[in-house]
């Protein structure tokens, strides 16, 4: 039984679509990322899973409990940690009073450890805390009862880079101990650093689910090469190159096989060569360049990695 099993989950606010026909499964111990711009439906999906919104159609299970049944969902929530994107904290209460209350509602086995780890001053009024420190309060509340499943909505918004690192380390530790994580973000780097698989949400629809590895490979390789010869642009305008720039060095994104690249370079005297993974942003942006039709086609292969090849085919085919 997957930790999260989402079946055609749909939520409309009146006539406005929040999410539509969202299906995916997150296995035990997996870190799954929801990636999409603000307003794409990430928060709606998470809040529907938690029962804050009742689905218009479709359904889901969390830790094997039906989310449309309040009694069952409550049992699941006992074992869930939730971090909202914009946590509603009582600004006129101290962090201690708030965490005491949360502890009374959900337990607090690891509260002291987390408070110390994030350097939180519990005696201060939440209203007097910085955005980052408020986020820490919500983080402690989400993690302190050792949940089996973490639902984290934009978890690092407001955290400085150092704390983002600390947060990532905490998530990794929990995952090592068997915790399952669903994390939403519009920051690709965060998702890439933490997640095993990524679901891309656009306009309420889950347009693709890929492993982070597949997403990386879809982005191709960033190639920079310096050769002895004077090169013409035409020499590199072959199947597999994108974003070609020809100058003192030649740089391009290579989306083909390595063999073909080596064949291409074989015709030159190579002085310097650098091949790195293309930034994930590039791969990600392919989901946002308006090619809805193709995105829809990859949805079918949502829970296995088979769509990766299709994706690569698509990239080649489009050129």
């Amino acid at each position: 039984m997957p930790a999260i099993d989402c079946q055609s989950l749909t939520k409309y606010y009146g006539d406005v679509c929040g999410i539509e026909d969202v299906s995916f499964a997150v296995e035990d111990g997996e870190v799954f990322g929801f990636l999409g711009p603000n307003g794409a439906g990430k928060t709606t999906a998470i809040r529907t899973l938690l029962g804050f919104l009742s689905p218009t159609s479709g359904g889901a299970t969390l830790l094997g409990h039906d989310v449309t049944d309040p009694t069952q969902l409550r049992r699941a929530r006992e074992r869930i940690g939730y971090l909202p994107g914009d946590p509603g904290l009582d600004t006129d209460r101290t962090a201690k009073a708030f965490l005491d209350h949360q502890a009374a509602l959900r337990g607090s086995a690891q509260r002291d450890e987390l408070v110390a780890r994030f350097g939180l001053d519990e005696s201060r009024r939440i209203g007097d805390l910085s955005r980052g420190n408020r986020q820490k309060v919500a983080l402690v509340a989400a993690f302190m009862h050792e949940p089996e499943l973490l639902l984290l909505d934009e978890p690092t918004s407001g955290l400085d880079p150092l704390l983002q690192e600390e947060f990532a380390a905490l998530v990794r530790e929990r995952v090592e101990n068997g915790t399952t994580v669903l994390l939403s973000s519009h920051v690709l780097g965060e998702v890439a650093a933490l997640c095993d698989r990524v679901g891309v949400i656009r306009e309420g629809r889950l347009v693709a689910v890929e492993s982070v590895e597949a997403l990386r490979s879809r982005g191709g390789k960033q190639v920079r090469v310096r050769v002895a010869e004077n090169v013409s642009r035409e020499a590199f305008e072959v199947r597999g190159t994108m974003n070609l720039r020809v100058g003192e060095t030649v740089s391009f994104t290579w989306t083909g096989e390595y063999d073909a690249l080596i064949d291409l370079l074989d015709g030159f005297t190579v002085h310097d060569l650098e091949i790195v993974d293309a930034p994930l942003e590039k791969a990600f942006m392919t989901f946002y360049d308006g090619d809805v039709q193709t995105m829809g086609e990859t949805r079918g292969a949502v829970t296995d990695g088979g769509s990766v090849t299709d994706g690569d085919e698509r990239l080649r085919g489009r050129r």
């Binding site: 606010y13 809040r47 938690l50 029962g51 804050f52 919104l53 009742s54 309040p70 409550r74 049992r75 929530r77 006992e78 869930i80 940690g81 939730y82 909202p84 914009d86 946590p87 509603g88 904290l89 009582d90 006129d92 209460r93 009073a97 209350h101 949360q102 009374a104 509602l105 959900r106 337990g107 919500a138 509340a141 639902l151």
Partner: protein, 271 residues
């Protein structure tokens, strides 16, 4: 998990603690208000003006609204100048306003997401919020009779303790009903400010309805208003204790909380 309190109790405690300072301030202000009015009484009593004749000239609806039976005695004076106005109307409206802010406010601010992400049944939230306002009601109705009694003695008058105790004991069901009305309204409107104003406006409209209806042949219509079941003037001036009214108010409070729990149990948390 067994050492954790029931969710409704945890919520009630947290809410009550959050309101502690406001409750103390309100109690202090109302005490000052009461003492201020009492300070006027000696000059009024010795002025030689027949106040009862004066107030009898008021229109019946006005007399009803302000529960005017007699104003020349200390009981009548307290009833008209303080209990009918401050206790029935001001405190009632304020409690309805606070009740209106509970659920709607938590949903709109996102606090409800954090509460309900724990294994908390929604009915526990409604019950917890309701009980969280009890401490304010109890504080007001415990401190003010003491202040009133001391104040009356201070201006050289006497008053039956029994009546003073009764006017506050019977105020409790009324105040509970005002809070319950606010909480019920709070589950209907998604914006805190609107829920608060509607709750306040609804209680005021019911009060007006009762006042106007009492002077007409359709006086039974006024029965729907909580204000019809708590009459501080009758308690203080005539020593008439309306236990049936108190029962009606308690039943109404429970009914409104049940309705709120049902409504909240089904609603989407959209602020």
């Amino acid at each position: 998990m067994s050492d954790r309190p029931a969710p409704w109790l945890a919520i009630a405690r947290y809410e009550a603690a959050g309101r502690a300072r406001g409750s103390a301030v309100l109690t202090g202000l109302l005490s000052a208000f009461l003492l201020l009015f009492l300070a006027f009484y000696p000059s009024l009593a010795t002025s030689g003006i027949d106040l009862d004749a004066y107030v009898e000239a008021f229109p019946p609806a006005f007399q009803e609204a302000f529960g005017i039976i007699s104003i020349s005695t200390i009981e009548g004076f307290l009833a008209v100048e303080f209990y009918q106005f401050a206790w029935l109307l001001l405190v009632g409206l304020y409690l309805a306003y606070l009740g209106g802010g509970t659920i709607a406010g938590d949903v709109a601010s996102g606090r409800m997401d954090l509460t309900l992400s724990a294994a908390v049944p929604r009915r526990d939230v409604v019950v917890g919020q309701f009980i969280g306002l009890w401490s304010l009601i109890f504080l007001l109705n415990l401190i003010l009779p003491i202040v009133a009694y001391a104040g009356v003695l201070a201006v050289g008058e006497t008053i039956a303790i029994e009546r003073l105790v009764a006017v506050h004991a019977l105020a409790v069901p009324y105040h509970l009903c005002c809070v319950a009305l606010g909480i019920a309204v709070s589950t209907i409107f998604s914006r805190e400010g609107i829920a608060q104003r509607v709750a306040l406006g609804a209680l005021f409209a019911l009060f007006m309805l009762e006042s106007v209806a009492a002077a007409s042949e359709y006086d039974w219509i006024g029965w729907v208003s909580p204000t019809a079941h708590y009459d501080p003037s009758a308690v203080l001036v005539l020593a008439e204790y309306d236990f049936t009214g108190a029962g009606v108010l308690l039943a109404a409070a429970i009914g409104l909380i049940l309705l709120a729990a049902i409504r909240f149990g089904r609603m989407d948390l959209t602020g």
